[in-house]
């Protein structure tokens, strides 16, 4: 279970955690995060956000709670330049966590956030008990 991994990592510094994307000096591993998001095939789920490295986790937590975030705010919170921030947000759009808002203009890109996940894996064999209940 994902949460068992979380609890087993309790008290460890970010660098000690197996999923952490931090460099040796403890800063955010931007290239590593890009690579992980590119390799990812599934949409981002609530349980993924819990395991994201800092400051990506807290930035996304903030955006999810508010429901929206601008590219400039995202870049500021991530301590990235606009170009780097855009690379990340484009991957987050591709993984359906962010959607480009209609209020975006030439000066600023705004994103709406939407966590998504199916509560049940599709394609799992149907158990007979549910047929009986139906």
């Amino acid at each position: 279970m994902w949460w068992q991994k979380l609890v087993s990592n309790r008290g460890k510094s970010p660098g000690e955690q197996p999923n952490a994307k931090v460099t040796e000096d403890g800063s955010f591993d931007f290239e590593g995060a890009l690579r992980d998001l590119r390799e990812r095939k599934e949409d981002i789920r609530p349980s993924d956000v819990v395991l994201f490295p800092e400051p990506l986790r807290s930035t996304l937590n903030f955006a999810i709670r508010i429901g929206e975030v601008s590219l400039t705010d995202f870049a500021n919170m991530m301590k990235l330049d606009i170009s780097q921030a855009r690379q990340l947000t484009e991957l987050l759009v591709a993984r359906n966590l962010l959607h480009v808002s209609a209020i975006s203009n030439t000066k600023e890109t705004f994103y709406e956030t939407r966590l998504s996940a199916m509560t049940r894996q599709l394609g799992r064999p149907i158990n007979d008990i549910w047929k009986k209940l139906d």
Partner: protein, 251 residues
């Protein structure tokens, strides 16, 4: 500004639904417009506390998730069911209690993102001051989503070894989700326990403020979910404890 509040416990039987219904009643008594969503789709029950009969359930949360209705259409005004003087209003979004519909949602699953959309929409459309989310026990994607978008999380536990361990998981996850406010409630505490001592121990263990330590109550057992406790027993220690939780939520 409206607030979304999740009520959660790692284990079942802690009194989540009862607490949620009573918090909703207290908030509404103070004049609030309160929405209550039963996201415990696998084992719904909070509608019973509001004396809300299945025959009145025109639409449920299940219907919304299947695209059969809007979230507002699934919201039922249950204020008149409370049997007490309430200045505000309570809207209940119940989950279906039909076996086939529960089975369908478990079998087919649903996109938890629809919950997110629905929560925000119903807050706006009904002009709610508070949206209380009665969650499914344990941790799953929909519970994480509820916690992630909440302004406050009420964590309920009993003085029980299994609850102690599970609550640590909930608290860890809530911290990872940066919930702005976390409040603990210790429920069903044996009368022989020193309530202040329990409060101090729990606060020390989790480093989270405990808003109330509620003693086990025969009156609550006898009421047996057939009504809202705080309306029936306005001067009971449990009611006073729940008022403390409301005060924390409202801050």
């Amino acid at each position: 500004m409206s607030k979304i509040v999740s009520v959660h416990s790692f284990r079942g039987g802690t009194g989540k639904s009862n607490t949620t219904a009573n918090l909703a009643a207290l908030l509404a008594m103070d004049g609030g417009r309160v929405g209550v969503v039963d996201t415990d789709i696998a084992s719904p029950g909070i509608h019973v506390l509001f004396n809300f009969d299945e025959s009145e359930m025109k639409h449920s949360l299940n219907d919304y998730l299947w695209g059969k209705c809007t979230i507002q259409e699934a919201a039922h005004d249950v204020t008149g069911h409370l049997g007490g003087e309430v200045k505000g209003q309570i809207f209940l979004i119940p989950s279906s209690i039909k076996a086939g519909e529960i089975a369908r949602i478990l079998r087919e699953g649903y996109d938890v993102g629809l919950l997110n959309d629905g929560f925000r929409e119903v807050v706006q459309q009904l002009g709610l001051d508070y949206l209380l989310i009665d969650t499914h026990p344990g941790l799953n994607e929909e519970t994480l989503l509820s916690i992630a978008i909440s302004d406050a999380l009420v964590v309920i536990m009993r003085p029980d070894s299994q609850d102690y361990q599970g609550t640590a998981v909930t608290v860890d996850v809530a911290r990872k989700l940066d919930v702005p406010k976390m409040i603990m409630l210790v429920n069903k505490v044996p009368q022989s326990f020193d309530l202040e001592d329990v409060k101090a121990r729990v606060e020390q263990t989790y480093n989270v403020p405990v808003a109330a330590v509620l003693p086990h109550s025969d009156e609550m057992m006898i009421l047996a979910s057939s009504g809202i406790f705080t309306l029936r027993f306005p001067d009971h220690p449990i009611t006073k404890g729940l008022r403390n939780v409301v005060a924390e939520i409202s801050k």
